[in-house]
């Protein structure tokens, strides 16, 4: 068990001038499950591989516990890694695959066997121990890869998109299993994924990366409630948050036919930096259908924004309405969540207002969060 620290860690690929990972600073607590998430090419896998020792660190340091491992080879770092394609040794049985690291470490045979059997029991692999990987299904191979990591009892688990080769249903199941296994073992884990649902459901904390730069590290709850900038706001949440550029008015911002209150300091900060507009973010689930009682700016039109329905996705429990609306003189796409029993039809016009206290305000020019 150990903490993991990225201290200004930087990776520049040979021949490239832009860093793949740029001055990454993350402190991971002992026993924590940290998820690195971001779009492809954001440097999340590179960060993990730097921690594993598979990529050089060009600048800064990486520490596991108190040990500086920046320039140690992988084998001296006391880590175990689960690869996206599992990287099982095809010529070895499941048991040999799982026990290989222990065998190299010189652990005696009886103990290797005992530890492999223990791990196999946890992962429900006991009856497959003598099989070769090619005689296993995708899910079983994934569990063997997990088992190979578990038997080593390392200080840190590293997982590089371990679920992306599974089918959708199995992925959801395995997601829960990995999370609960990690809680049980209490081993510090760094998990890389491009799937923000995985990130939100599994991690104690989530780190969002973009273009090699860390955008935000926070708990899933805070990440959802208070995204630090426009990128995180758009990345976390499914369907994505509606981000609409609106003009600043007195005491708030005009959102269609209503005014969304925004605190004064935020607006002042925006107008001080010369912005005439701010970007307002509202999640699809935080829109309310206006029933005429909401306060509107002009009396002769209903409150909120008029959204013309283009597509409706019915998910059973609820539905998502994909529509277009005119906000501040330009056409924008808006997604609204509606109750599963009262789904509008295509072509209908809905009047929606953001629920109070659930709006996010970002600076249009810098993308930084203004509201608190």
């Amino acid at each position: 068990m150990a903490t993991v620290t990225f201290d200004q860690a930087t990776r520049i690929y040979p021949g490239g001038d832009r860093p793949a990972v740029d001055k990454l600073n993350i402190d991971i607590a002992d026993g924590e499950f940290l998820v690195l998430v971001g779009p492809s090419g954001c440097g999340k896998s590179t960060s993990l591989r730097m921690l594993a020792g598979l990529e050089d660190v060009n600048d800064g340091a990486i520490r596991i516990g108190d040990r500086d491992v920046t320039h140690l080879p992988p084998k001296d770092r006391d880590i175990a890694m689960v690869f996206q394609n599992y990287a099982l040794y095809p010529h070895m049985t499941v048991a040999d695959n799982m026990g290989f690291a222990l065998k190299i470490a010189g652990v005696n045979k009886a103990e290797i066997r005992q530890r492999v059997e223990e791990a196999a029991k946890i992962l429900d692999l006991t009856e497959y121990l003598s099989r070769k990987p090619k005689a296993l299904s995708g899910g079983q191979r994934q569990r063997v890869a997990m088992g190979r990591a578990i038997v080593r009892e390392p200080q840190v688990f590293l997982m590089d998109e371990p679920l992306s080769n599974l089918d959708a249903k199995l992925r959801v199941q395995t997601r829960t299993q990995i999370a609960s296994l990690q809680r049980r073992l209490g081993t510090t884990t760094v998990y890389v994924t491009h799937d923000q649902v995985e990130a939100m459901t599994m991690g104690d904390r989530v780190a969002v990366l973009k273009d090699g730069l860390l955008q935000q590290v926070d708990s899933p709850r805070n990440m959802y409630d208070r995204p630090a900038n426009l990128f995180v706001a758009g990345f976390i949440g499914s369907p994505a948050m509606n981000l609409v550029e609106v003009p600043i008015t007195d005491g708030g911002v005009t959102f269609g036919n209503s005014v969304v209150p925004v605190n004064r300091e935020a607006l002042k900060a925006a107008s001080d930096s010369g912005d005439k507009t701010v970007t307002v973010g509202v999640r699809p689930e935080h829109f309310e259908i206006a029933d005429g009682e909401a306060k509107s700016v002009s009396k002769d039109a209903p409150a909120g924004v008029a959204v013309t329905v283009n597509v409706v996705e019915e998910l059973g429990a609820d539905g998502y309405v994909y529509g277009s609306a005119e906000v501040a003189g330009s056409q924008v796409d808006i997604v609204v969540r509606v109750g599963g029993r009262s789904v509008p039809l295509k072509g209908d016009v809905l009047h929606v207002v953001p629920r109070g206290g659930e709006t996010h305000v970002f600076s249009t020019s810098t993308g930084e969060r203004l509201s608190d």
Binding site: L54, P73, P74, A80, Q84, H91, R148, R152
Partner: protein
């Protein structure tokens, strides 16, 4: 003995020939795939016959008498006995076989070991000069061995290695290296890098990762290139002819099979014993046929090799 080639890659010519078929036959073979099949199979049968007939003739010759061999090529032997094989064996073929085996055991093993090691490093490690060394190896394959014969002869002479096993073994290893490196290089490239990384994280040294992980996984490739090397070195004639000649009257005879058989033919004692010569050829041919037939699947697998995903 290039007769053991796999005759499958032929359908190109067949596709081109197919549309020229008269319409009447096209109707009969309404399914054009079927027509192609009949044509290509006919072609393959013809090819197989062309290859198998001379082989069978040689094997049958071992059972004939000299007069029968001189007679009709289509006649069957009248008296089936293994006498010719015994005579061939006693007259040196046994020794030639042993010499060949001694040379091949070492030369093929060393070729595979060093070839795969070099190929692995060139395929998987980035270092300055990597490409240059690789091209150097590959260039060796384009260099006709005949051009090197005279320098090779003097090189071995200076080293005192003419007519020695170790001399021929070293030359064979060098001779087979370009193809081995070329083939294994592309094979190692197809193996997933994650396997090597997993081995590194599991605590392997580079040596252990190579011998315990990468080499076992490369087994199909090793087998096929190994078989090509066995065939190539077994059938090698010009190199032993130049480098394995007796240097003096007292020098031991280390002739390998190919060279020994020719010697048998030109030696006066064999002028009248054609069946023994044919028997000697059969003996020389059999091990290669056995190797090829028993590893046929691996040869094909090696040529189309991938790995477990």
């Amino acid at each position: 003995m290039s007769t053991v080639e796999d005759p499958t890659p032929t359908p190109v010519a067949v596709t081109a020939a197919a549309p020229a078929r008269p319409p009447g036959r096209d109707e009969r073979f309404a399914d054009s795939g079927k027509a192609l099949n009949v044509f290509s199979h006919g072609f393959l049968v013809l090819w197989a016959v062309m290859i198998v007939l001379p082989l069978v003739w040689i094997v049958l010759g071992a059972f004939k008498t000299s007069t029968e061999i001189g007679g009709s090529a289509w006649a069957w032997p009248t008296n089936w006995n293994l006498g010719a094989f015994g005579r061939a064996w006693e007259n040196g073929v046994g020794g030639f076989l042993v010499h060949t085996l001694i040379v091949l055991v070492f030369s093929v093993t060393l070729t595979m070991l060093f070839g795969s090691m070099a190929a692995y490093v060139l395929a998987r490690y980035e270092f300055p000069g990597n490409r240059l060394i690789y091209f150097f190896f590959v260039a060796g394959a384009m260099f006709p061995v005949y051009l090197a014969l005279v320098p090779l002869f003097f090189m071995l002479k200076n080293l005192g290695m003419l007519n020695t096993y170790q001399g021929l073994i070293l030359v064979y290893v060098a001779y087979s290296m370009p193809f081995t490196v070329f083939f294994m290089h592309s094979f190692f490239r197809t193996l997933p890098t994650a396997l090597h990384e997993a081995a590194m994280i599991d605590g392997c040294s580079h040596t252990r990762a190579f011998f315990q992980i990468m080499l076992p996984i490369a087994k199909p490739g090793l087998l096929s290139v190994g078989i090509f090397n066995v065939l190539g070195q077994w059938n090698q004639y010009i190199l032993p002819l130049t480098l394995m000649q007796k240097q003096s009257g007292t020098d031991a005879d280390h002739s390998v099979l190919t060279q020994g058989l020719v010697n048998l033919m030109v030696q006066s004692g064999y002028k009248n014993d054609m069946p023994a010569l044919f028997a000697g050829m059969t003996i020389a041919m059999l091990p290669v046929l056995v190797v090829y037939l028993s590893f046929q699947r691996q040869v094909q697998a090696g040529l189309t090799a991938g790995t477990l995903k």
